[in-house]
């Protein structure tokens, strides 16, 4: 039996290995720390936010409602036209965005990986059916599809997550299917079959570990895509009205009609979306280099 200590050690060494892969090049290193920063902010958001998000703030000197104030000591990122503190909004929005990104990223990779593995392994009619479903999904325009799903389900955060996950999986399914097909022809799969391994065991114990680098690459890719999609949908007003997100902040700005004036309102969410998504892409690039060593040589 494995002792708890050895389990913890092997778990730790796995994590350490993932860290090594992610930080194996400069971009990956930058990406890792930027993502780590956002994750930390998301985790401790309620402790970090100086004010409640939906509470009008008053100027400490004049005692008046702090409407549309530029960044100052009191409000480091300024305020909105209704006197909400943008710093607090940014921090709480990070939490929402990271959460939506992570959850829909993981759900989508779960869907994509399973569909890819099953289609690739079984082949034949099952493959045909699953891949045609994927094709149909490819035929759907991304944003309108999400918007329709959200309007069908309602503007609740759970449904936003679901709607995003239901469309982001398509690319990962295709790629993982292709990899599965190539791996299932390797001799060790036949050997496993000759040992009487069940199909499910072969798929999840023998093939899955071999597509893992690719899977991690697409996990981080899917998270990035989920964040972009969430921001776009929220910006168009299809986010959850009760939880604030970066896209939602931009939507509020748009509604207020102060886009040309309030640069401090516009800049932080936009920059954070770009920074987080880019960092995730950097990380996925590091995984890509690991999964496909040929890319390393061209550097």
């Amino acid at each position: 039996m494995q002792t708890l200590g050895s389990r913890v050690r092997s778990g730790w060494s796995t994590l350490h290995r993932q860290y090594k892969i992610m930080t194996s090049n400069t971009y990956g290193l930058i990406g890792f720390w930027v993502v780590a920063f956002f994750f930390a902010v998301a985790l401790f958001a309620p402790l970090l936010a100086p004010y409640p998000v939906w509470e009008m703030q008053y100027d400490a000197e004049t005692g008046q409602l702090a409407m549309l104030q530029a960044p100052s000591m009191q409000f480091p990122l300024g305020t909105t036209h209704l006197g909400y503190d943008l710093m607090s909004q940014m921090i709480m929005a990070t939490r929402t965005t990271v959460m939506i990104g992570l959850i829909s990223g993981f759900i989508s990779i779960m869907i994509g990986a399973n569909i890819g593995l099953i289609a690739g392994y079984y082949g034949g009619l099952i493959d045909e059916f699953l891949m045609r479903c994927t094709d149909i999904l490819y035929g759907m325009p991304f944003l309108p599809f999400v918007i329709i799903l959200i309007s069908l389900f309602g503007r609740k955060i759970e449904f936003v997550i679901l709607a995003i996950a239901l469309i982001v999986w398509r690319t990962s399914a295709r790629v993982i299917r292709a990899q599965t097909i190539s791996i299932k022809q390797r001799q060790f799969v036949t050997a496993a079959r000759a040992r009487g391994c069940s199909h499910l065991r072969i798929i999840y114990r023998h093939i899955l570990p071999n597509v893992l680098p690719l899977l991690l690459l697409y996990t981080s890719f899917n998270i990035a895509w989920s964040i972009v999609t969430e921001a776009s949908a929220s910006f168009l007003g299809f986010g959850d009205g009760d939880t604030i997100s970066w896209g939602g902040m931009l939507y509020e700005l748009w509604l207020s009609g102060k886009t040309r004036v309030a640069w401090w309102w516009f800049l932080p969410p936009a920059a954070c979306i770009v920074a987080l998504v880019t960092s995730l892409v950097f990380i996925s690039r590091a995984y890509e280099e690991y999964a496909n060593p040929r890319l390393r040589e061209t550097r």
């Binding site: 496993a192 040992r195 009487g196």
Partner: protein, 334 residues
Amino acid sequence: MLLDVRNLGVKYRMDGQQIHAVNRLSFQLEENEIFGVVGESGCGKSSLIKALLRLVARNGLVEADSVNFQGQELLQMPMEEFRKNILWQKIALVPQSAMNSLNPVYKVGPQIVEAICAHVQMPDHQARDRVHELFESVGLQKDLFDSYPHQFSGGMRQRAMIAMALALDPQLIIMDEPTTGLDVLVQDKILKTLRRIKDETKCSMMIISHDIAIMSEIATRIGVMYGGSFVEIAPTMDLFKDPSHPYTMGLTNAFPSIRELGKELISIPGSPPVMVREENKCWFEPRCPFAADGCRQTFPAATMTGANHVVSCLRSDEREMLAQLAKEKATWTS
């Protein structure tokens, strides 16, 4: 008797055609023997293994009057039962190119332990002990337990695969080209190991190879395959002393003998047949220098020409005369 195969056939559907890979194949396997199967590429060796292990691809069709293993009909058994109770426990395979038969992402020892635990109820530490034992019996050092397959040499991987096949004490081990791709010294060591294992575990082995020299060294009985069935099955010594099928005669000609150094090797012209339909004729007839009219009209039935010596040739009565002729190069080239 361990295994009794009667009239086995394997067909593949391809582009509306049916390709016969194995055709009217019969043989018996006794306990504690090493049965060698030789034949050139495309004669149906691999399809035979796949049929016995029920691993034939979806476009393949397996038919037989009987495939009886220790009193059980293998082909009639429900797939789940076959998978759980026969594969690996009773019949184990050492696949072709053992180089790639280990999963590259797992360490070798734990990989075998895990496979054992998945198959039979056995506590983890007991399975580990078993693998250590197996490593020893195939001549692998115990400290290799925690190595990855890529850290193994070709011979070591072959040994690991043999260890894996032995894990559950199978009655029959099927080996597909166990020595291909290994240098002669390693080949020799592996063969010695196999022979020792056979003596220790009293299991039977079925060894598939195209290398008749290897076979002569290890097998107790040899079956020569051509056109999807056995054309001749005989105890090893008899096969070389008294080859009764023209194909066997040709095959023995094509291998160098240490006693006749410098002698030119004679090859059999032509290539194996593609069997798109079942025909009542001898499949070797187009390449056979001794083909008679009858060979084109009847499928030669298996006849006994000696103790345990079975031949499928119409002219097997004249075998001594034919064997003399077959030694001449002119017989094959004209």
